[in-house]
């Protein structure tokens, strides 16, 4: 199970811009490095991050080999209605992680 931390404000006013922080543990092995024996270390990265808000996609990021280990993504969205934000990371070697957080909009 991948380790991930998401931070979403628990409450927000309708129309307010809220900041969402996501951090996930991943080596993000570039595929360009060699090991002690000179062999290429195969690439192992997260390829895609998607955030949905009550099922509607509000943020998407494609990740590439130049992205650091343990990618930290911070992005804004508009608090439209109470509900659930779902965060999904997918990548090489069948990597997949899902987290969710609730936000209450008044």
């Amino acid at each position: 199970m991948a380790r991930a931390i998401v931070q979403v404000p628990a409450q927000a006013k309708r129309g307010e811009i809220i900041e969402i922080k996501t951090l996930i543990g991943h080596t993000m092995e570039t595929g360009f490095r060699h090991n002690d024996r000179g062999e290429l270390i195969p690439r192992d990265i997260i390829r895609l991050f998607v955030c949905t808000y009550n099922g509607v996609e509000v943020f998407r990021a494609e990740l590439h080999p130049a992205v650091s280990a343990n990618p930290l993504l911070i992005f804004p969205t508009v608090a439209t209605e109470s509900g659930t934000l779902e965060f999904r990371w997918t990548g090489d070697n069948g990597f997949s992680a899902v987290r969710s957080a609730k936000v209450e909009v008044s």
């Binding site: 380790r3 922080k21 951090l23 993000m28 650091s68 280990a69 911070i74």
Partner: protein, 252 residues
């Protein structure tokens, strides 16, 4: 003659005073970092070391070894407050680092295999235990037993070594605040170990950090867990006495 002697003594005293950083002028590595890196350390939600702390919490409760006991079975986590600020310490007549003490518990109490140095498990427990002392002043115990280790550590800190023939003190006592390869030279206070070092893209121990410096001056690093490494660690902690612990810190 006596005047000359007095002058000589005064000069010597001045040189000695210059060598060590006055207590009030000490700065954590934090003070030398950019705003973004500081922000990363200050917010648990974006400090990557938090991932290791979470792992540590899980490990703390996991039963292990032939004894089938977890850390939590003996130690309440709250009771770990202040512990990291007191290590390395003399336990059973030997100077041990916090990592070594964790392994003493592993082997003697849990009857389990010791964790390797720099293993994910040892770093995670180090981060979790260190986190309990965040904000507390560093206070290694100074007793007649620890004194010889401290003096040995100080001697290592001031001893020139490696092909570049440099001592720790030449950079970190005498030239802190100047630049080395474009980066500021910090005062080398171990205020936040284990640290998430952006260069490493991972969490790492003080020993790993010491290796970086030693390889940099082209000296042979001490073996993992070597007595010299722990003595140096003790001296560095004493040198940073009273400074608040930032564990788990972020460093560039």
């Amino acid at each position: 003659m006596s005047v000359r002697l007095l002058l000589l003594l005064l000069l010597l005293a001045a040189a000695a005073a210059r060598a060590e950083i006055p207590l009030a002028e000490r700065r954590s590595g934090y003070a030398f970092m950019g705003r973004d890196t500081r922000a990363m350390q200050d917010d648990d939600a974006v400090n990557p070391a938090t991932l290791w702390v979470l792992d540590g919490e899980e490990l703390w409760r996991r039963k292990a070894g032939a004894a089938g006991e977890s850390c939590a079975d003996c130690h309440a986590l709250e009771r770990m407050r202040g512990v990291a600020a007191r290590y390395p310490a003399v336990r059973g007549g030997e100077l041990v680092s916090l990592e070594q003490q964790v392994n003493v518990c592993r082997v003697e109490r849990q009857k389990a295999r010791a964790f390797g140095y720099e293993s994910r498990e040892l770093l995670s427990l180090g981060a979790l235990i260190g986190r309990q002392s965040r904000g507390m002043p560093i206070a290694v115990e100074m007793t007649p037993q620890t004194r010889p280790y401290l003096e040995a550590g100080r001697a290592l800190f001031e001893r020139r070594e490696g092909q570049l023939n440099l001592a720790c003190s030449q950079c970190h006592d005498e030239r802190w605040g100047e630049k080395l390869g474009g980066a500021p030279i910090p005062q080398a206070h171990p205020t936040g170990y284990p640290i998430y070092r952006l260069e490493w893209q991972s969490l790492g121990s003080l020993e790993r950090r010491l290796r970086n410096c030693m390889i940099g001056i082209r000296a042979e690093p001490y073996a993992w867990g070597a007595r010299e490494a722990v003595e140096l660690e003790l001296y560095l902690m004493w040198r940073a006495r009273g400074m608040p612990l930032e564990t788990p810190a972020v460093r560039p």
